[in-house]
Amino acid sequence: MAHELLNGLSRGETEQVLALGTRTKVQSGASLFRLGDPADRLFLIERGQVRLTLPMQVRDRQEDVLIEEKSPGQTVGWSALIPPYRFTLAATASIETEVIGLSRDALLKYFETFPDVGHKIALNLAIVVGHRLQLVQAMWLRQMQRTVELHSALAANPR
């Protein structure tokens, strides 16, 4: 399994980093982490699928609405490396899923010893975070455009 966070690492470096982690199976529908939880580790998805959600009021119910889905090779929980180290989404396994959890402490300690690896992983993390930012800003702009159009339509025909 090629992980986006480990792109550019040699086979030996990849094995060393993966050896820092803990493999965990998450049953279908089970929570990987919850919104607001302390984020002390990130997760590489080995197999399965993870839903990232945020709570939203739908009529009189609060529902977890899908924000993004992550597949094998992708990374979730990078809030573990970004202050204030709190998960800003909830993660749930859509199907039975296996992840490798990498703790912040173990990674930072490893990066101190192998700064070149830390540099590569930091660049890969920037790509992951940057991609999310690009997606969200495009989605936000599309939604904003619709809000402006709706507002203009209501102003032109208030009744």
């Binding site: 899908l66 599309r142 455009q145």
Partner: protein, 106 residues
């Protein structure tokens, strides 16, 4: 004397008939139902800027079952994300504002 008595009787009789006629005429006038004036139209309550009052918008009953609504939301998110992915891969104005088949935008 007889003539005087006859004239007196006729006068009394005439007076009685006149009195009866007057009483009947008076009674018929008072017993008639009084004419009611038409009821004035009910005055409208005073209003400020009555023309500017916005009528209440009726609250629409939810038509779509919530399970279907949640599916539509999820479908909308997936379609929007796909559109955003297309924009990130090929950033142009047209792709940014491309339409999707989401029921929320159609």
């Amino acid at each position: 004397m007889e003539m005087f008595l006859m004239a007196l009787c006729v006068s009394v009789f005439g007076l009685a008939v006149a009195a009866l006629a007057f009483g009947a005429a008076t009674r018929s006038e008072t017993s008639a139902p009084p004419v009611q004036p038409p009821a004035p139209a009910k005055a409208a309550p005073a209003r400020f800027f009555a023309d500017g009052v916005v009528p209440q918008i009726p609250i629409l009953a939810p038509q779509v079952p919530i399970e279907l609504l949640l599916q539509q939301i999820e479908s909308h998110v997936r379609l929007e994300q796909a559109a955003a992915e297309s924009f990130v891969n090929f950033p142009t104005n047209d792709v940014l504002h491309s339409k999707t088949s989401s029921p929320f935008v159609n």
